[in-house]
Structure formats: structure tokens, C-alpha cells
């Protein structure tokens, strides 16, 4: 049952919240080998479920009352530890909940543990994990339930796997450069990143401030719409980048017809680098859209390739500064042996940060340093505007943009080892929308040699309802999103 179905069943008291919670807790434990969860507290979850049942019985059920939702471990929670996938936050207990977590709880959701992610959300494979998963005493990469020798995608790999394997009906993720869309694509689930500023970043461990956005991952657009509506809304007292636009019901247009919908197909998203099986699945999906009344429009996003260096420079620069607070003084890991203050900083950070994080801190520090700021960071921010303007030009000719979420399907664990640039290049299709701050989705659209392929849909600013409508219509006409990996 998806989120919508479960919420209805709970409301109608066909099942209890405690039953739903217990069911998922058991499933999580029996599939620990996937490495998706890093923290679980049965008592906490069941207590929340009991409270939800009481509210349902009293007739005061909120829209998601009793639905168990798991949270990417990048969201701070007061009742469970938060590590952001890093040793440097081992044992950290936040005194407050992330706004997104709080809003979902206020909408009735029951907290179903914390999900593994790439360290500080930096990664595209969920292999950059530095904390043990549930059932392990050492860090493990997260495994794709469609093929346990493959990566699930990242950085919200744990979230994607939890949904794909039925460990949770819905999960929160974050998307900075594609970290919801790409794992959703690799795991055959639905995920959406809203317009930048729609969801509050308060309580999201910061990676790249001008790019990070929270979003839901679930088994359908309908479910995502429900979750997104609960997650989004202004947070003026906590997040200065959160938009003033009032909260919306993103489900309002779900059932609309797609007649006359113009789908922009960027030629740069269909070049030689796209795996044939991926291209085939995406082309098939576009054909389906045409049957639903939409029509294809050829468009161009000429600076697509440039989005890679632009993104990695901006993200690394912001991250290098955001991660300076991890210094062993106020919270988190502190080295055991050090000579003096300078040594304490250096040892603490050396021990606490993984390789990818250190690499990005180094790149970020470099591009902000004296003499390089103009040529790198400032230049990247300018090209970023050009990329955003390219999208506006494209949207003059179409309503939505469609293409693959990634050039390939999930690769094998360890396949990109030692070459971070290979990971960076694989982000090419998700980065542009991130830079422009546009809403984007990934919707299951088929398979390539048994591995899921996602169709990426990109909307103009604030067009989440339209995106969800397009995804929903597709999901009414196809059943890719209802497939399950073998054994799950």
C-alpha cells in the first residue's frame, strides 16, 4: 500500500497505526542486508503509532495520521541520532527537529527511523558511507534491491531503497545535484525535488546552501503529492531562503488531462553518452505521453555540459564553508590525541571526514581563496544565471521538459572507485535543474536489462502541481511504478 492508500485505510480503521508500524519495523529488520537504515527505535515508533491511533479514534486524524515515514539521516531529529552519514557526527543528538520532520509529524506521520546517505549528501552512489547500518558494526554501502551487487544511486540511496523494497511507504530525501531524482531512477521509485525555497532547509545538515532542497520519495506521484504538500511551506522565522509563497495542495491538479501539454525534449539529453536501453525506455515513455495527448517539442539547453563544473564549483565552495563548523569544539567527534588547538582541529577533521568530503572541501577552499574567487566561484555563479536563462527560453516553447534522469542504469558497487570525476559526469542531466532551482521529478519509465530507468520531468518555477499531474497521468496509463524487485 502506498502512502495515500495507507492513510485512507488507517482513517477508515481497516488497520491500526501500530500494525502498520510493526509491519514495517519487521520488514526493515528482515532486509537489513540492504544497509538502508542507520537508526531505528521501535519503542519510539510504536509510541507515536499508539498516539496516532488515539487521534484517529477521537476523530481528529491529520491527513497522514499514522503513516510511517523514514527520514534521510541528513535531517536532524531530536529523538533519534543524526550522523549525515559521517563519523564526525557519530553520536550526535540534535536538540531540535528539522522543520520538514516537524511538519510531517504535524501532518500525522510516524517516524520510522533514519536512512543511510552519502556523507554530507556528497555522492551519487551511497557508497560514501562512514557510519554503520542497522545490523552492522561497520559502514556498508547501500545495496540496490533490484540487484544487490549494484548501487542504489545517491545521495538519498537509503531513502530510495527503503521505498523500493517496501521498508517504508514513503521517505524523505534531499536533492542538491540530483540526489532524489537519480536514486529514484536507479531504484524504480518516484521522487520529486520542489522549486528551491519551497521546503525549509532548517534542520537539514547543510551541504550546498543555494542548491539543497528536501523532497519526498514514494511509490507514486499521488503519494509524493501528499507528502510534498505536508513538507513544503514558508518558514520565515528559521530559513531566510525559504520562499514566502503560501503552502499548496500539490494534489489539486493530479487528475487533470494532458491534452495539449507541450513536452520539451532537449537534444543535449539524448546524445551519445546515454545508454541505449535508457534511451529506449525514455523514448517509450515519451510515446506514452503523446498517446495521453501531449506533444513533443524539440528544445535546446546548450549549456548542459557546463553545468558539471558550474555545479561542482558552487557546491564545493559552499560546502567547504558549511563544514567548517565541524571542529570538535561544540558537538560531534573530537580526536583523542592532539598537541594543541591547531592539532585538535586538524586531527578531528582528518579522522572525521571521508575522502569525498575532504576532496570537496579542498576544491571549495581553493576556488574561494585569494586570487581565484573571480575566475572560479564568481564565474560559476554567472554561468549559472545563463543556465537558468536558457531554461526560461526553453519554457517559452514548452510546459515541461523531459529526458533521462541519468545516462545509465545503476552501476556495480565499486565500479567508479578511485575516480570521483566519473561520478560527477554521471550527474549531467540532473545538475542543470538544480542550478536553476527548478522543480524536478523522476518517474519509473521502464527497464534496461532488468534495471530500472527513470524519466526525469522538469517544470518551471512553482510548477510542482503540473509536474505531479503529468507523472500521475503517466502512472495511470503504465505500471512501471508498481513493479517490485524479486524477493520483495
Amino acid at each position: 500500500m502506498g502512502v495515500a492508500g495507507l492513510a485512507a485505510a488507517l482513517r477508515e480503521r481497516k488497520i491500526s497505526a501500530v500494525e502498520a508500524a510493526a509491519h514495517h519495523l519487521a520488514r526493515i529488520r528482515s532486509h537489513q542486508a540492504l544497509g538502508a537504515f542507520v537508526a531505528l527505535d521501535d519503542e519510539l515508533t510504536l509510541a507515536q503509532a499508539r498516539a496516532a491511533d488515539a487521534r484517529i479514534a477521537a476523530g481528529s486524524a491529520a491527513p497522514l495520521e499514522g503513516v510511517p515515514i523514514a527520514h534521510k539521516d541528513i535531517f536532524v531529529t531530536a529523538d533519534l541520532p543524526t550522523t549525515a552519514g559521517s563519523r564526525i557526527l557519530a553520536g550526535y543528538r540534535s536538540p531540535f527537529d528539522a522543520t520538514v520532520v516537524r511538519k510531517l509529524a504535524e501532518a500525522g506521520a510516524v517516524t520510522l527511523g533514519k536512512l543511510s546517505c552519502d556523507e554530507f549528501a556528497m555522492g551519487s552512489a551511497n557508497e560514501n558511507v562512514a557510519v554503520p547500518a542497522l545490523g552492522f558494526d561497520h559502514p556498508v554501502p547501500v545495496r540496490n534491491p533490484w540487484d544487490s551487487e549494484r548501487i542504489p544511486g545517491g545521495s538519498s540511496g537509503g531513502s530510495a531503497v527503503a521505498v523500493a523494497a517496501g521498508l517504508a511507504p514513503g521517505a524523505t530525501g534531499t536533492d542538491t545535484g540530483g540526489s532524489i531524482r537519480q536514486p529514484a531512477s536507479f531504484c524504480g521509485v518516484t521522487g520529486i525535488k520542489p522549486t528551491y525555497g519551497r521546503a525549509s532547509r532548517y534542520g537539514m545538515v547543510a551541504f550546498a546552501s543555494s542548491l539543497d532542497q528536501a523532497g519526498p520519495m514514494a511509490r507514486s506521484a499521488e503519494d509524493c503529492a501528499l507528502l510534498l504538500s505536508a513538507m513544503c511551506g514558508p518558514d520565515p522565522e528559521r530559513d531566510s531562503t525559504s520562499l514566502a509563497r503560501p503552502a499548496e495542495d500539490f494534489s489539486r491538479q493530479l487528475a487533470g488531462s494532458l491534452d495539449g501539454l507541450r513536452i520539451g525534449v532537449p537534444k543535449e539529453f539524448f546524445g551519445a553518452g546515454v545508454a541505449p536501453g535508457v534511451r529506449a525506455a525514455v523514448e517509450g515513455a515519451l510515446a506514452e505521453y503523446e498517446k495521453l495527448g501531449a506533444r513533443r517539442v524539440e528544445i535546446t539547453l546548450p549549456r548542459t555540459e557546463l553545468s558539471i563544473p558550474v555545479y561542482y564549483i558552487i557546491a564545493a565552495a559552499e560546502a567547504s564553508s558549511n563544514l567548517s563548523r565541524f571542529d570538535g569544539v561544540k558537538f560531534g567527534h573530537r580526536a583523542k590525541h592532539y598537541r594543541d588547538l591547531a592539532d585538535m582541529y586538524a586531527q578531528t577533521r582528518e579522522e572525521g571526514f571521508g575522502d569525498e568530503v575532504k576532496r570537496r572541501i579542498m576544491i571549495g577552499t581553493y576556488v574561494l581563496s585569494h586570487g581565484y574567487y573571480d575566475a572560479y566561484y564568481l564565474q560559476a555563479q554567472k554561468v549559472r544565471r545563463m543556465i537558468a536563462d536558457d531554461f526560461q527560453q526553453a519554457f517559452a516553447q514548452c510546459d515541461l521538459i523531459a529526458g533521462p534522469a541519468a545516462p545509465s542504469v545503476a552501476w556495480k558497487l565499486g565500479e567508479h572507485g578511485g575516480d570521483p570525476v566519473a561520478d560527477y559526469l554521471a550527474d549531467i542531466f540532473t545538475l542543470p535543474a538544480s542550478l536553476a532551482g527548478l522543480p524536478g521529478m523522476s518517474v519509473p519509465a521502464g527497464f534496461d536489462a532488468g534495471l530500472p530507468v527513470g524519466l526525469q520531468l522538469i517544470g518551471n518555477y512553482f510548477a510542482e502541481a503540473k509536474l505531479l499531474n503529468a507523472a500521475h497521468a503517466f502512472q495511470q496509463a503504465t505500471d512501471w511504478h508498481r513493479r517490485w524487485p524479486a524477493g520483495f
Binding site: F96, R238, T241, S321, H370, Y377
Partner: protein
């Protein structure tokens, strides 16, 4: 991106100051004024002084993961007030930037400040050094957050970090290197201190760290290019400022005379030894990697807001002083004295409104009242003699009811609480000057009758003899005669 080098600002046409051992002294100031908001600049924790460690450091102030800054409107409003008071330009749009460096009292590992586009630009501060008018130009004033504090006393080999102060709003006020002497620098600091407290943006409590100055000092032989400056940090008393700058000037001159070049350095003043000493140099200290803070969109200040603030601004001390000179004929010096604080000016104005002669009121306030307040460590608002009481006292001197001497006795009685009402005190102490001219004339005649020798000596040209006659009359009247009347009568009778 390089640090703004205020030191290289145009200095042509600036006058040289008094030379020290043949060297010209060049001083610029950076002042950090803590703003008087109740909450922090980027969080809503309290800024109240003196709380237990870390009880006023909320999640945002501690830089806990996931926290973000939200700007305090009161801090922006105070920046606007300062800009208006100093004749600066208020930037319609300004940007917050991160200044990145590692230090235990800096929880985020960066300070949120303003770099390329500050909220206040230009402006000036005018004041007197002795009789000489001076004007120091401002480069800019920008908003930023204060850091926490490190405490060393109670810990061996360790420091204790208190982040209560972290996030307190500051205005950093930067001058051109326009000052040419220690005296000028201290006078500038005093004037700036007066202004920020006058307009209510800062409580000015220097012991509590509300107003801290960094002095950039260099020396050069007149005509040479600007010397290398050293920065004396965190001077939090006017006395220390004077001692520190004087020492630094002498030290730099000694170094140069001994053939050594001055190295750019940050120095601390040690009040116990009276010396400045370079801080431990930090490697790469200068590369702060400034970039606009992505968590804070640009600050927009609309013209309407500026006008609203302007309409609510009090009359500023210099304008008020100039008005006193114009309207009441006071001297520049006295007017400056009376406009030390809004409360003092209000006292003066209260006395004048109650009918006091402005000059007389001014004399009493800047003289006797100031002396007693100082001695007893009282503020003008705590003065036992009210403005209207002073006005009554001054009126009684003016209308001849009491002499100046008698007035001092009345004042004393009022101050010590012996009496409340001027006339009642005069009555009770029998201090009324003799006003009956008939009775006075009788006494004068009496004295003249018995002081022929004095009369003769006076007529022979000895002024002292006249005074002796006056003295005799005063004595005979038991001090109640009006000296001016006595003078007039004697002169009339002696021809």
C-alpha cells in the same frame, strides 16, 4: 578578493599633525559598537550581559547542524540611524558575506559580516581637540556578528568557551586614516561614543565590551610615503587608547631610528605593563575567502524606511550645541559640555524653560553640578537638585534676592536634601539680601562717617581703600547687603 585597504585611501590635502620626534603620526580607527537590540543579529536568543555561560546561546548561535541565520530588523534600523547621524549614504541594497577562519569562539568557522557592499557608506565625525575643530571621514560602517569569549583563568592548559556573546549584533565603523595625534584619536573615539549612545543604538558600556576600538597606527617623516601600520586591537577604555597609542608611536619611532623596518602586525595592549605586543602570528591569517552568504538574500532598504527613521531621529549633539550658541549666546565650549548626553541637555533645557537665564544656568550646570555629580558618581538624572529648582535659584540671584555666596549655601541645602524649595531655604537661613535702600544708605553713611582715612586714600587714587569701604559695609550689614548696590551708593556719595 582582497581585504579593503583603508590605509591607501586618498590622503592628499590632509593637514599634518604635531610631529613626534620629527615624525608624523597617522591613525585610523575601526570601532565595534554592540547594538542595543534585545535579541541577536541572526537568532532570537537574548543579548543581555552577564548571564551564565552558554545560557544565551541557542542552536543557531552554537552553529548546530541544520541551523540558519534570520536577520534582526532592529539591528538594521540601528545601522540606518547611525548612517543618518553621520551624514553617510545608506545603501539601498547591501550584501552579507562570510569571513572564513577557524577559532574556538567562532562557532560556524566563519563570521557573517559585510564585505564588498556594506549597509552604510561614507559620512564623517566632527569634534574639537581643545579649540581646534577636526573632521574624521568614515569609509563605511557594516553589520556583522560578534564572536564568543574564551576564558582562561580557571583552566590549566585549557580554555573555556562561552558563546553567549556569539551573534550579538555589531556595527563595525571604519575611518579613513585621518587622525594625526593621540589626542585627536581619543577625541574622535569620545565623540563617536557620544553619538552612538545619544541616538540610542549602543549602550556605550565600555567595561562590558559594548564599544571596542582597534587603532591602526603608523609613523612617517613628513613627505615620505605612508609607513607600515600596526593594528592595536580591542581598546575598551579612553585611557587605554591614549596609553596604547602613545606607546605604539614611541615604539615604532624607536624601531625606525634603530634601523629596523616596521612589520605589519596585530598587537594587543597590556594595561599592566603599558606596552603593546604583537600577537602570535597566524599562518594564512589574511585569506578569509569572503563570498556572499548563500543563506542570506541581499538586504534591501527602501527610501521610505530611511525617511521614517530620519523623522524619528533626535536632534544630534552638534546641531543642538550650535543651536545653543545661536539662541542662548553660549560659548562653543559650554554648548559642547551641555550636549554630552540627552539627559544633560534636557536638564539645561528644563531650567531654561522654567525661566532661568541660559548663561547662568549653563555656568551652574557645567560648574557646581558637574563637579558634584562627578565626585559622587551620579548621573544627571540622579541629581538631587531639579532643573526647575535650579531655575528658581538662578532667578533669585538675577533679581537680587540673594548674593552669589548665599546662592551657594541655598544650593548646598537643596542638594543635601535639607530643603526642597528655594524660597523656603532662603527664608529659613535668612539669606535675603538687604533690599531696603533706606536701611542700606544708613549703614553706608555710618561707615563713611567712621572711615575718613579710607575716604581720603580712595580720593587720592587707592582702589584698595574703596574695597575696604565696601567690606566695612558688608560687615556692618552682616553680609546681607547687595554688593552691587553698595558699590553704587558709595560711588555716588564719594563723587
Amino acid at each position: 578578493m582582497s581585504e579593503i585597504n583603508t590605509f591607501e585611501a586618498a590622503q592628499s590635502g590632509r593637514p599634518t599633525g604635531p610631529l613626534v620626534r620629527g615624525y608624523e603620526v597617522i591613525i585610523g580607527f575601526e570601532t565595534h559598537a554592540q547594538l542595543s537590540t534585545v535579541s541577536k543579529i541572526f537568532s532570537r536568543a537574548s543579548t543581555a550581559f552577564g548571564a551564565e555561560p552558554n545560557t544565551q546561546a541557542c542552536a543557531v548561535d552554537l552553529a548546530l547542524p541544520g541551523t540558519l541565520p534570520v536577520m534582526n530588523k532592529g539591528a538594521v534600523e540601528r545601522a540606518i540611524r547611525l548612517g543618518l547621524a553621520l551624514g553617510s549614504t545608506i545603501a539601498p541594497r547591501s550584501v552579507f558575506a562570510r569571513k572564513n577562519y577557524f577559532y574556538p569562539d567562532l562557532p560556524k568557522g566563519y563570521q557573517i559580516s559585510q564585505f564588498e557592499i556594506p549597509v552604510v557608506q561614507g559620512g564623517s565625525v566632527s569634534f574639537f581637540v581643545g579649540d581646534e575643530p577636526k573632521t574624521v571621514r568614515l569609509v563605511r560602517a557594516h553589520l556583522e556578528e560578534d564572536a564568543g569569549k574564551s576564558l582562561h583563568e580557571d583552566f590549566v592548559g585549557q580554555s573555556g568557551i562561552d558563546l553567549n556573546r556569539a551573534g550579538t549584533p555589531l556595527l563595525e565603523i571604519v575611518t579613513e586614516p585621518d587622525m594625526r595625534s593621540t589626542a585627536e584619536a581619543v577625541a574622535y573615539a569620545r565623540e563617536l561614543h557620544k553619538i552612538v549612545t545619544w541616538i540610542g543604538i549602543c549602550d556605550g558600556n565600555m567595561q562590558e565590551g559594548s564599544f571596542r576600538c582597534d587603532a591602526n597606527v603608523s609613523v612617517r617623516r613628513p613627505g615620505d610615503k605612508l609607513g607600515t601600520r600596526r593594528e592595536i586591537k580591542n581598546l575598551n577604555s579612553f585611557k587605554f587608547m591614549q596609553q596604547a597609542i602613545d606607546y605604539e608611536i614611541r615604539w615604532q619611532i624607536e624601531e625606525i631610528e634603530d634601523g629596523r623596518a616596521i612589520q605589519q602586525a596585530t598587537v594587543l595592549f597590556d594595561p599592566d605593563s603599558g606596552e603593546t605586543r604583537a600577537m602570535r602570528t597566524k599562518e594564512d591569517a589574511a585569506d578569509y575567502r569572503y563570498f556572499p552568504d548563500p543563506d542570506l538574500p541581499p538586504l534591501a532598504i527602501a527610501a521610505e524606511w530611511i525617511e521614517r527613521v530620519r523623522a524619528e531621529m533626535p536632534e544630534l549633539p552638534r546641531a543642538m550645541a550650535e543651536r545653543y550658541v545661536r539662541e542662548h549666546g553660549l560659548s562653543d565650549y559650554d554648548a559642547a559640555q551641555l550636549t554630552q548626553s540627552p539627559a544633560l541637555a534636557a536638564y539645561f533645557q528644563g531650567a531654561v524653560a522654567a525661566g532661568a537665564n541660559a548663561k547662568l544656568a549653563s555656568n551652574w550646570i557645567t560648574g557646581e553640578i558637574a563637579r558634584r555629580l562627578n565626585q559622587q558618581d551620579l548621573a544627571i538624572t540622579e541629581a538631587p537638585v531639579t532643573a526647575s529648582q535650579l531655575a528658581r535659584l538662578v532667578a533669585r540671584i538675577g533679581d537680587g534676592t540673594i548674593s552669589n555666596n548665599a546662592a551657594r549655601q541655598v544650593f548646598d541645602a537643596l542638594w543635601t536634601g535639607e530643603g526642597q524649595d528655594v524660597d523656603a531655604v532662603i527664608e529659613a537661613k535668612g539669606l535675603k539680601q538687604m533690599s531696603d535702600s533706606g536701611a542700606l544708605e544708613k549703614i553706608v553713611d555710618g561707615v563713611l562717617a567712621t572711615n575718613q582715612r579710607n575716604i581720603d586714600e580712595y580720593r587720592a587714587g587707592k582702589e584698595k581703600a574703596f574695597n575696604a569701604l565696601v567690606g566695612q559695609v558688608m560687615k556692618a550689614s552682616q553680609g546681607k547687603a547687595n554688593p552691587a548696590q553698595v558699590n553704587a551708593l558709595l560711588k555716588a556719595k564719594l563723587g
